[in-house]
């Protein structure tokens, strides 16, 4: 009933181009933002922050990053875990080398470093496509993890070979280390997520996004209308890696606190983020959020149902989770290749006409 374009006239291209063209959507978006910033921090506790909210926010950034590369530019990447590790280690090196700088700057710089590394590993994409590129990025994944394991400089020659985040504060409030309050960690991540979402949306709706999508849909035609495939692909790698790097930096510094690279940023992580993007919806920023939420909430929900309600053993539930995720991937690839975002779009389309569908 409220979900209508009717009466909401657009009188300029600017209005026609906005992210949420329907008034109801616009208000919904502001409400979500207001609740996330103004209400949740007061209600949050350690369990909610650590089990659901913070990982959701961090994975959402990673999924946005991968979605730019795979969903918008059509370059399949299995190196997300490796790039997250780059972000984490860059953040660690920066935190220990320049302790006086703000955490915000560390995380953003870590994203920048990852963007450079991403461009480097994106170079093969100029020659190879599809599966072969996926294998090339897989090489990046293994190489980067190996590098961070083998070169002691990256972990400051610590005896354990791990990196652990020193305590850092933002405006006097701790955001890293075990003593950081969960609401501060949550807000810190939320700020990055909000900016990542807005930036990614801006990048994908304008010229850059069209270049990427042109390359994705038909690279020959893209070249004939004046897209330089070199800059288009590498800029996608750079933008994507920037977000993935930020997510890796946050994952290490504020979420885990201490990281062993093979465990935290292994190939598993690459696949997890890829699954988020596939289930959420390729080529959609909303899809990145939906996919991240889904795959973060799923294990928690399963544990709640399986272990707490039905009394099954923990390992059975853990295996169930793998089965369910695997089945879902297959189902989504066959039935709805555009993922949850497409379901959402269809629902909105229906809602626009409801209750008079004819």
């Amino acid at each position: 009933m409220f979900y209508r374009e009717a009466g909401d006239f657009k009188t300029s291209y600017q209005q026609d181009n906005q992210t949420f063209p329907i008034r109801f959507d616009r208000y919904r978006y502001y409400v979500v933002l207001a609740v996330a910033f103004g209400v949740v921090p007061f209600l949050i506790n350690d369990y909610w922050a650590n089990a659901i909210l913070v990982p959701f926010l961090i994975y959402a950034i990673a999924a946005i990053g991968l979605n730019i590369l795979t969903g918008y530019c059509g370059q399949v990447s299995l190196g997300t875990g490796g790039f997250m590790a780059v972000g984490a280690y860059a953040c660690y090196k920066l935190m220990t080398a320049f302790p006086e700088l703000s955490m915000f700057i560390h995380v953003i710089l870590a994203g920048g470093v990852t963007a450079l590394v991403g461009v480097l590993f994106g170079l093969p994409s100029l020659r190879i496509k599809g599966f072969y590129l996926a294998v090339a990025t897989l090489a990046a994944q293994f190489f980067l993890v190996w590098l961070f394991n083998r070169v002691p400089w990256f972990y400051n020659y610590s005896a354990s070979g791990q990196i652990s985040a020193p305590e850092r504060d933002v405006f006097g409030i701790l955001v890293t280390g075990p003593n950081a309050p969960s609401w501060a960690v949550y807000l810190f991540c939320l700020i990055f997520v909000t900016f990542a979402g807005v930036l990614a949306r801006n990048l994908t709706r304008g010229t850059m996004g069209r270049r990427w999508m042109a390359i994705r849909d038909m690279d020959i035609a893209a070249e004939i209308i004046g897209v330089n495939p070199l800059t288009a692909k590498l800029s996608a790698f750079a933008a994507s890696s920037f977000f993935v790097g930020i997510s890796g930096a946050l994952f290490f510094s504020v979420y885990l606190g201490a990281v062993e690279v093979g465990e935290a940023f292994g190939i598993q992580k690459s696949f997890l983020v890829l699954f988020m993007v596939i289930i959420g919806g390729l080529g959609s920023i909303f899809g990145a959020f939906a996919g991240a939420a889904f795959l973060v909430v799923l294990p928690v929900a399963l544990k709640l149902v399986g272990v707490d309600m039905l009394g099954w053993a923990t390992d059975i539930v853990a295996h169930f989770q793998l089965v369910i995720v695997g089945a879902l991937i297959v189902v989504f690839l066959i039935l709805e290749p555009h993922g949850l975002a497409q379901l959402w779009r269809v629902a909105k389309e229906k809602l626009r006409l409801w209750p008079f569908p004819y």
Binding site: Y13, N17, G206, R210, D217, M218, E223, I225, G226
Partner: protein, 272 residues
Amino acid sequence: MLDQAEGYTTADGRKIGGVVMEMKNITLRFGGVVAIKDISFDIREGEIRAIIGPNGAGKSSMLNVISGFYVPQEGEVWFHGSRRPPMRPYEVARQGIARTFQNIALFEGMSVLDNVMTGRLTHMKTGVFSQALWKGPAEKEENENREVAEKIIDFLEIQHIRKTPVSRLPYGLKKRVELARALAAQPKLLLLDEPMAGMNVEEKEDMSRFILDVNDEFGTTIALIEHDMGVVMDLSDRVVVMDYGKKIGDGSPDEVRNNQDVIDAYLGVAHD
């Protein structure tokens, strides 16, 4: 009738200007196959130039040479009075040459509007950072170019489908969207590779009208490949005829029609 420097006046009174593009002794080989053999012709400002010939004559290869996909082994391409070095297709596009494809090459995952807007890419200069910020230069540029794109959309009468994903459109409309995308670049030279392939009579009439209108309204120079002889003879000012990679005729539709070599190529003669 044809004055090298001055151009000429067409039968319907349009003034045709100087040479825009000149192909000089182009030879293109694929291994042992000679696709184009020592062909020279020119395209003049404001004219509709057709390239015709039987299947496998090398017409599409010729278009691909012009648009930079193929680099000829011999010969020179002159554009606006200077020799063009071998360049990549996107550099050719930036020089102001746009084209459509024989089999539609639209971006299926994008809306019609986005497809047309991709045609404006060569005119859009803002970098990654202003794009990411959006407010300011990026948005201004977007709106300015949107205005141009909307004019083209208006011109080709596809307003009603502007937000429709291209993958949902029927064939005839896709062809029109592809023309819109090429036109959005405001090209100096527009190449059309079989713009009427696979269309019914009405769609062909529509498309012919659009081609004439484009030429008339924007003064765009057009080079096209087409198999429908009726269309070619009606539309074009001058025609190049190719057969087996060689040029066998060049001139006004009437001259070409009465050229014995052309008649032979189309009707077939005993090769001895």
